[in-house]
Structure formats: C-alpha cells, structure tokens
Assembly symmetry: C2
Homo-oligomer: 404 residues x 2
Amino acid sequence: MKNKLYFHTTLNQKTTEAYASIQKERETVGYYDLPEQDINPILEYCKQIPAQIESIAVIGIGGSSLGAKAVYEFLKPVKNLQRKLYFFESTDPINIQNLLSKIDVTKTHFLVISKSGTTVETFAIYKYILSKQSDYSYYTFITDPNSALEKYAKELKANVLHLPQNVGGRFSVLSTVGLVPLALCGIDIKALLLGAHHVKQSFFEQGELQDILLKKALFYSQNHAQYPINCLFAYSESLKYFCEWYVQLWGESLGKKQIHSAFHVGLTPIGLIGPKDQHSFLQLIMEGTRDKSVTFIQIEDFENDVQIPDTSLPHLEALDALNSLPFSRLINMQCNSVIEALRDEEDIPLDSILLPKIDAENIGGLIFYYELLTSLVGELIDVNTYDQPGVEAAKIILKKKLSI
Amino acid sequence: MKNKLYFHTTLNQKTTEAYASIQKERETVGYYDLPEQDINPILEYCKQIPAQIESIAVIGIGGSSLGAKAVYEFLKPVKNLQRKLYFFESTDPINIQNLLSKIDVTKTHFLVISKSGTTVETFAIYKYILSKQSDYSYYTFITDPNSALEKYAKELKANVLHLPQNVGGRFSVLSTVGLVPLALCGIDIKALLLGAHHVKQSFFEQGELQDILLKKALFYSQNHAQYPINCLFAYSESLKYFCEWYVQLWGESLGKKQIHSAFHVGLTPIGLIGPKDQHSFLQLIMEGTRDKSVTFIQIEDFENDVQIPDTSLPHLEALDALNSLPFSRLINMQCNSVIEALRDEEDIPLDSILLPKIDAENIGGLIFYYELLTSLVGELIDVNTYDQPGVEAAKIILKKKLSI
C-alpha cells in the first residue's frame, strides 16, 4: 500500500502524546492483537461445515455484518469462491423475503452474530428463519462469552463461537465475526491478517505508515472544524461495501461528546465510487463549501483487465483516442485527472492510497490502516473511540414501545 | 405522500420571491413539464423490442442511469417485472466483465444514453460491448438532437430517441432517459408520471405541499451554514438507490459558487437506510457536531408483509415481546423510536415523509417532490441549480491525457 499526502502538516507534541496513548491502549483494546491471532480454531471449525452447504448467511447488523461484507464484495468478482455469502441485516419484510428466495435453506449455514446477544433486529430475523429451518445444526452462534445468546445456544447444544475480549463490533472484522463467514467462503483469512499485520508493523515499528498516519490524523483533528467531512473516493466498484464499513467505523467512533468537555464533535464520513460519482458528488467537492477532505483509493493492477477495442465510430472519431486503452488505465487516468483538478483548487485537502491489487492481503491492510487512523483521530479530538452511547436512546424508546 | 415537519419556520418575502422565480422558471426549465408529457411515442417504441429480449442494459452514467436505477430497484422486489434491467456505468474492468457475465447479449437490448453524446465512460463501454454484439438492431441511442451521437446513430440507421429540450441529466428520470428503460421492464410509467403530476399540482395549485416545500426550502437555505448536511434516512432497503439519485440531485445542483458572489456554497447530501444505519451513522447524528438535518422516509404499508413467529427462545424470553409482530410494524416502530430520540435532543432539524406503499405512483411523487425542493433551495441560496461547471476541469485534464 502506498499513501501519498497532498497536504502539509508537521508532527508535534500532540502527535507524540497520541502515539504514546495508542501504545498504551494496546494493553486494553482488543483489536490491535487480531492480526497475530491463532486462526487454527477457526479453520478447524470450518471443516465441520458439510461440503453440501452452498451458501453462508450472516444474520447480524452493523459491526456484525459490514466488515465481512466489505471483504467478501471486494474479492467476490475476482476470486472463484467456494460458497456464496448473504447478509440478513434488515427488518424490511420485502428484503427478508427477497433474500430468502435466493437461498436454499437446506444448503445454507446460518451465522447468528450478536455481540451483546440481544440485538432486536437479529433475533426478529432469526426467529423468522428458524420457522423455515428448524434444525439447529444449520446454525452457528457468535457472541460474547456468557451472553444470553450463548446460554441459549449451549442449551440447544448448537455451535457457539466467541468474540475475543475487548473488541468492539465495528473493530471486529478481523475476529471470528468476520473471519468465520469469510473462511467458510474460501477466502484466504491468513493473507487477510498478514496484510493487517504488515500495516500494524509499519505503524508500530517506525515504518513509513507511522509518519503518514500520524500526519493524517493530526491534520484531520486540527482542522476538524474547517473540514468536518471526510470523503473516501474509491476508483473500484469492488470497494463499495468497504466504503460502507468505513462510514460506520469513522462515524460511530468519532461522532460524540468530548471526554473533557460537553462539546459535540465528529467527523462525517462519505463513501464515493469513481468514476460514477464524478457525475454526481464531484461538483459539490469542487465548487461547494470548503468543508471536505478527500482520500482517493486506486487499484494499481486490476489483473483481470480488458481493453477498449480499436473501433472508430463515424462522427465520434474524437473518441478514437480511447482505442486500445486498457480499462484499468482509463479508470486510473480518470482518478488522476480528478486529483489534479482538485489540487488546482489549492484549498481541498487530498491524499491518495494505491493498492497493488485486489486480494485478501491488500484489503486486510486497508482495514487495519483505517482502524489505526480512527484510533489516532479519536485520541486527538478527545473522544472515546470505542463506545456508542448515542444509539441507546432510540433502543430504550423501542423497547418501551415493545414493552420489553 | 404525507410530510410532517418537526422544525418551525415562517414564510416570508424571500419565499414569495422564490416561488415567483420558480413559476417563471417553468417557461424555460424543461423538467416541470414532464409529468404531463405524451407517453404514447415511448409505449409505441417499446412495442418494437422483440419479446425474446429478456434484459435491458443501460450504458450511461450519472444522470443517464441513477434515476432509472432508483425506480427499478424500488419496484423490482415487489413487482413481477417483464425484464431485468442492468446498468453499465463504470469503467472498472472487473465490473464490466462481471455485468457481462450476467447477461446473454443475444437476448439483451442496449440503451446507450448520453445527453451530450460524447461521454467518455459511455463510449469506452459501448465500444467494448459492440465487440460482443455487433448487430445494431440490439441498440437504441438516447441523446440530445444534433449531437454527434445522433449523427452516428442515424448513419447506422439505428434507433434514436431524444431528450426533451432544457432537461438536465439529473432532472431527466421522468423523460425518455428514465421512462424508456423502465417501460421496457414493464413498469407502469403512466402511474409514475401521475404521482409526479399530483405533487406538482399540490405545489403549484396551493395544495398542502406548497406550504411544506416552501418552509423546508426556506429552513435549509436560511440555516445552510449551521446545518450544511442533509441526511435522507429511508426505512426501506428498496430506497437505497433512490438515496443515490438524491445525492446526485442535491449535491450537483446545490454545491457551487453563488451567482451574485464568489462564495462557495452547498448542501451536502447523505443517504442512509434504516434500521441498518442505526448501527452505523446514527451515533454521529445523535452525539456528533450539530451540522445535520434529517428527513425520514417510511413506507406505510409494505403489503407483502411477514410476521415474526410466536417462538420463545430459552434465556432470550425478553425478546418474546417481538412475537407475532409484523416486520413492517417493527421497522416503522424502529424509525419512530429514532425520530423520538432525535427530537428529544431539540437541536436536530427533522421531518418525516410517509409513502402509502411501494408503487410507481409513490416513487414518481417522491422524485418530483425532491426536484421541486432542489429548485427552491437553489433559488434561495443563489446558485444556478441546473449547471455543473465544476466537473469540467477534470474532464479537460483527462482529455489532455488522452490527447482528445
């Protein structure tokens, strides 16, 4: 992964302190250790799932689904995966029926994922699916130790897997929560973790990413009042769900009251896909209020490339310049053109990330890169990166309505 | 459609003037007339497409694809549509091949849509698809009269349809651009336009929506510095692509330099889907910086509903309260709980839109509602709602790189 910053900032005492805090945090926050975990128990578990199972369905929402979806959707178009992966993550009745019509419940293994073990959406959907497939051997439950869900699963003698300690939902993709569904589809989770490990190493062992991540975090935090919106503009359709994962990670981690004040702070994440969103959101970035930073993501080598044919169309000869160009070159030229145009404006903070190719190692690295960046920015803007007290109020109101 | 505002504002001289400007604009801006257009030519054209054509593929980007996609994806899960609709809207080589693998080019009719007739992405993709299907009878071209694309199509004696005059790309979904692909899939375009017509009538003939749209536009424009971000939070998975259409409409129309100043202004659109994004973005709205307004969209009657079974799970008896509840009630209770929780904060501007059901008439109305709102806000924040000068710079740089 290469990351080039087009803005300037100088590391200072604040970044030194933030780095020290992150170092200290490693003792208590669980996600930092995930890249080096022993994956053998997961691989062993996967062997138990019979070969005739064609699909895996995650019943889970938010942190229980977004990470696996990001990785799966990134790799699916280029890898010959063993099984299909579906996500039941909405209480929309049309959506539930639509998804169910796509799978054969006798050839699907369901992963019921709920950290707390009491997520309303997850259990509403689970109860419905249970009415279609009542054999518990078709289910695995992933939850925190001693949750009500674990007790339930144990009573049924069903499969239960645990989340590691102190890993929050939105930081859990590299734990059982993400690794189990991905491994069951045949995704190389060892490579996924290796990619994360390399990024971690670079950050904690004074590699190139230490300087870059600190500078980026410092810039975002110092300028969060002027540039409160952070766009991720990815030039690959395969990164669409990575953007959704990023939106949760960034928004839910960084939008809250400060620890040492009563101020509401927050950085607003926006996911964009190029070149499509050049025809949508770009105008706003280019000419709208100067409240946005933009990070571009490009794929260096699409591998499975195709070329624009050498065809001349009468009256459209101007477009002959496209002939024989590989699409991968075109899409990257488009991205570079947008970067140049925005740089010319001089007041839009930009950086660009180049992923060598579409594989598990690269997406693992990108995930860890964003987790580290989130932790750093959270530290610098003085919030608790790992809680989400703001979602409780609506849950309490709902439970009251439901008389739970 | 019902729309309830949870914030207060009083109409004033500015709104009277803005309304007068919109009235005047109807003489020159084309989209206002679309609901009452004669659709017989489109229906006649559709009859020419042979019955053995199973799929329709739009080759187009931005305004040429987002509108039809929004309507199609809204209706697809509940209607038994005649044909499938695909969108080639990216130069990502993986995406192009992936889409091509899903269709049979001998049973697909391609709609090449480019208003200007020279969109780089569209022609790159068209050339590639032409190498897979070289029979021009499989193509229809939709473009402005006298564009290079029209000349090309005429030379081939291929089908050409025109965009109506003075209709910009992002306001074109109710013109040939959206109606042709939708009608070819068997979507009731008459009902779609009728829904738009009712909203238009309500706005221009002093119906309920006139007051509401003026108040909403006034509030957004008066407070655009304090609340520069406008979230659309839709409690229906089927509205996912409507949100993408909204993002283009809002962002590209309202993000630009003011007409009577050199200031950059703009309102940033964000599309959210509930309840999923309660587990993602809600924390940021609830506890983050107070820079967002939120509009909720709910479906009153999902029609094709299902019920949570009456099952009690040991250790999870607290969730028995969900039993026998229709999912449609649950999802709407979730939405109402979030609205209540946000109202309790007292400083987040909210409103909610209730769509009676999922059909063409309702989505047509919602589209026109947002088009009118965009025009009003554009007028009030002093921008040219209908141009997009900011996207030109990157295009020029790309053309230079390509030596076009």
